[in-house]
Symmetry: C2
Subunit: 393 residues, 2 copies
C-alpha cells in the first residue's frame, strides 16, 4: 500500500519522459487532510540541489499539501534556470490541485549538472494530477506506481506500512541504491500517516527515527545533494496517537525501509551490519562503526568472503582518540559469530568464518563503556564499480 | 642506486622464506657513519604494529645504526608474542653487525594478525648481515635488492636518488601499493643521505617533505598500521648541507617516490591529481581535495572515463563549513583542462573531456582565498576490487 495506506492520501506515478528507459519517472502524493502536518529531514551536504533549496522554503510555515518527485535528473548545479524549473513544477502542481505552490515539496533524483525538461515535467504533473482525482488514487496500485516512479538504479520499489491497533496507520516509500551515506542515507523517502499529530510532533518523531535508521545506513560513504525524508500527516483517522507509540512505530517503519535500501544497494553482494559494543557513548559507537564501513579494503575483503579482521582493526584505529575513547589493543572482533580476535590478538581461526551468506555481522567490542550502535553497509564489488563507472554514459 | 647512493650506507635484500612466492622478503640497510643521524615519521593509526611500537622506542635517543624490513607479514595485532619477534629480530641484527639493538629500526609489511616465523626472520638476518660485509653491499644492485625485498603487491621497486652539486647525496626506496592513505601514504620508505646534518635537522626536513608529498597521496583512503618513513644520515660526504637546499631536494625526492607509489597503486587505471585552488588556507585546500579523493562514486566515474563533475561537487559539499570556508554554489571545476562547471553551473560540454590517458587532472577553484594544494589519488577499478578481495586467501 505504501503511501496510500493511511487515510487522507492519494498518489500517482506516471511517465513524464525524463528517464531514457521510458519508465515511470514522476510521482505525486497529495495530503487531503484535514490536517496538513509535515516534518522533513534534508541532506547535510552543503551542495544542495534546487529542489532541496525550494523545499526548505516550503517548510517555513509547517504546512505541506503535496509532494512531487521525479527521477531522471537531480536538478542540482543547474543554477537559476534549474531553480526556476523546480519552482515552475511546484506551481504546476498547485494549479492542478488548487493548492498553494508554497505548500508543495519537490524532490528530484538522477544525474547532477543537467537541466530537466520543464515541458516534460509539467506534462507529467498534469497527467498525475488528473489521476489523483480518480478513485484509484487511494489504492495500493497507486502507491506502488508512485514508488516505482522514483526509482533510479533501484531494482525494486521499497514500500512499508504499519497499522496501529488504536486506529491510525503509517505508510512509506523509499528510493536510493547508491550514495547511501552518512547523515542521511541517500535517497528520497515519503512517509504518510493519518494519526492526529502536529507538525512539531511529527518533527520530534522523524528526527528520532532517522537518527537510528537512515542515518546509520552507509553503503558507499557518499552523501547525496538531494536527500530528502518527508513525513506528511493528514489526521484523517481522527485518532490522536500517543507520541511515544507513534515514534516507535515510525522507527520500525524507517528501519524496514533502511534495510530494503541496503538489500538493493548498487552492486552489493553482502549486507553488512557493523555493531560496536561497549563504547563510551552511542555517538562514539557510530563513529567507530562508520570508520569501518568506509574502509574499501574491509569492504573488498567481505566481497571476497575473506574474514580479514586486521582490516577492521586498521579502520578502527583511524578514529582520533579525541573522538572515541578506547584502548586500541584491547578490542575484540567477531565476524558471523566467530570470535576471530580477542584483546587485539588472533583467537579463533579465520577459516571458521562462513561468509557465503549475504547477511554479514561484524561485532566490535571496545571494552570502553556501555553504549552500543549498529551501522549498516555493503561490500565493495565488481558490480558496484561497473554500475558507477557507467552511470552517466 | 637507491639507499646505497649516498656514501656510508650498505644494503642487502634476501629471501628469508616469509613470502609464499619465494621472492626476496627481507631487507637490511646499515649506516656506517661517521654520523648516525635519523628522523622518522610513523603512521597516525592508533592501531600500530609491533615494529612501529618498537621503532618509536628506538628513536628516543636520536641514534640509529641500521634498519631491517620484512615483507610477508605486518606483525600487527599479534600481541606480546609478536612484539618479542620484533625485539628478537633487532637483537639478531645487533649481534650480527656488532651494534646496539636499541639502534635498530624494524619495519614489517603484509597481512595483519598473523605471527611471523622468527626462525625464518633470523635466518634472513644472518644471510643479509653476511652480505653487508661484502664489497657488493654498497652497489646499486644491493640497493635494488633491498627495494625488491620490501615489495608486497607492488609490481615494481620504487627508487630515487639525488646528487647535490656541493657533494652530498640522497637515496631512497619505497614500497606500498594499497592502503595508500592519509597522514602518510601506506608504505615503508627508507631514505639515506651522506650530508652532515644532525637528527634534529633531518627531522625538520623530513616533516616538511612528508607534509607535501606522502601525506598528500590518498590512493584508497585506508591508513595502514605499519607506515614508516625513515631518513638516515651518515655524514660520510663530509659536506655540511644547507638545510633549505637539503629540504628542497628531499621534497623533490619524496615527490618522486610518491608519484611512483601512485603509478603502481593496486589495480589503478588512472593517476588523478586533484588541485584545489583559491582556498582560504592550504589545510582547507587539502581537506577539500581529500574529500573528493575519498568519493568512491567519483573514483568509479574516472575509471569509466566519465567526467562526472557532479560527483566532484557532491564530495566537496560534504566538507563542513567550520572546516573549510567557501560558497558551495560559486565553485569552478575543470577536468583535464576542460572547464565543465563555472560558478556551480554547467559550462563546457562534458563530452569534450578526454579521460583515456592515465594521467587525470581535476582542478577545483573555491574562489575563497589564495591557497592551493594538490592531492594525488587513483580511480576505483575492477582490478582494485579483485586484488583486495583475494589478498589473504
Amino acid at each position: 500500500m505504501s503511501v496510500t495506506a493511511p487515510a487522507g492520501f492519494v498518489a500517482a506515478g506516471v511517465t513524464a519522459g525524463l528517464k531514457k528507459s521510458g519508465g515511470l519517472d514522476l510521482a505525486l502524493v497529495q495530503n487531503l487532510g484535514p490536517l496538513r502536518s509535515v516534518a522533513t529531514v534534508f541532506t547535510r551536504n552543503r551542495c544542495q540541489a534546487n529542489p532541496v533549496i525550494w523545499s526548505k522554503q516550503v517548510m517555513a510555515d509547517g504546512t505541506v499539501s503535496a509532494i512531487v518527485l521525479n527521477s531522471g535528473g537531480a536538478n542540482c548545479y543547474t543554477g537559476t534556470a534549474g531553480f526556476q524549473v523546480t519552482h515552475a513544477t511546484a506551481e504546476a502542481v498547485a494549479a492542478a490541485l488548487e493548492i498553494a505552490a508554497g505548500d508543495v515539496l519537490v524532490c528530484s533524483t538522477g544525474l547532477i549538472g543537467e537541466q530537466l525538461d520543464l515541458g516534460k515535467l509539467t506534462g507529467g504533473v498534469a497527467e498525475a494530477s488528473a489521476l489523483l482525482k480518480t478513485p484509484e488514487a487511494a489504492s495500493a496500485d497507486a502507491g506502488l506506481a508512485a514508488a516505482q516512479a522514483i526509482m533510479t538504479t533501484d531494482t525494486r520499489p521499497k514500500l512499508s506500512e504499519h497499522r496501529a491497533p488504536s486506529g491510525w496507520s503509517l505508510g512509506g516509500m523509499a528510493k536510493g541504491a547508491g550514495m547511501l551515506a552518512p547523515g542521511l542515507a541517500t535517497m528520497l523517502v515519503v512517509i504518510t500517516t493519518d494519526a492526529v499529530l502536529s507538525s512539531a510532533q511529527l518533527d520530534v518523531a522523524l528526527r528520532a527515527a532517522t537518527r537510528v535508521t537512515f542515518d546509520r545506513l552507509d553503503s558507499d560513504g557518499c552523501m547525496s545533494t538531494n536527500d530528502t525524508v518527508s513525513l506528511l500527516g493528514s489526521g484523517a483517522s481522527g485518532v490522536e496517537a500517543d507520541l511515544t507509540e507513534f515514534t516507535d512505530a515510525l522507527i520500525a517503519l524507517c528501519e524496514d525501509l533502511t534495510l530494503q535500501l541496503q538489500a538493493d544497494a548498487e552492486g552489493a553482494a553482502h549486507d553488512v551490519a557493523i555493531t560496536v559494543q561497549n563504547a563510551q557513548s552511542e555517538d562514539e559507537a557510530v563513529l567507530v562503526a562508520r570508520a569501518v564501513s568506509r574502509s574499501n579494503l574491509f569492504k573488498a575483503a567481505i566481497y571476497g568472503n575473506d574474514p580479514n579482521w586486521g582490516r577492521v582493526l586498521a579502520a578502527v584505529g583511524t578514529v582520533d582518540e579525541a573522538d572515541a575513547a578506547f584502548d586500541p589493543y584491547g578490542i575484540d572482533v567477531a565476524i558471523n559469530g566467530v570470535q576471530v580476535c580477542t584483546a587485539g590478538e588472533p583467537d579463533q581461526p579465520r577459516d571458521l568464518v562462513d561468509l557465503t551468506p549475504r547477511a554479514v555481522s561484524v561485532v566490535i567490542d571496545l571494552h570502553a563503556g556501555n553504549a552500543t550502535a549498529t551501522l549498516w553497509t555493503n561490500d565493495l564489488t565488481h558490480d558496484y564499480v561497473e554500475e558507477n563507472s557507467a552511470y552517466s554514459s
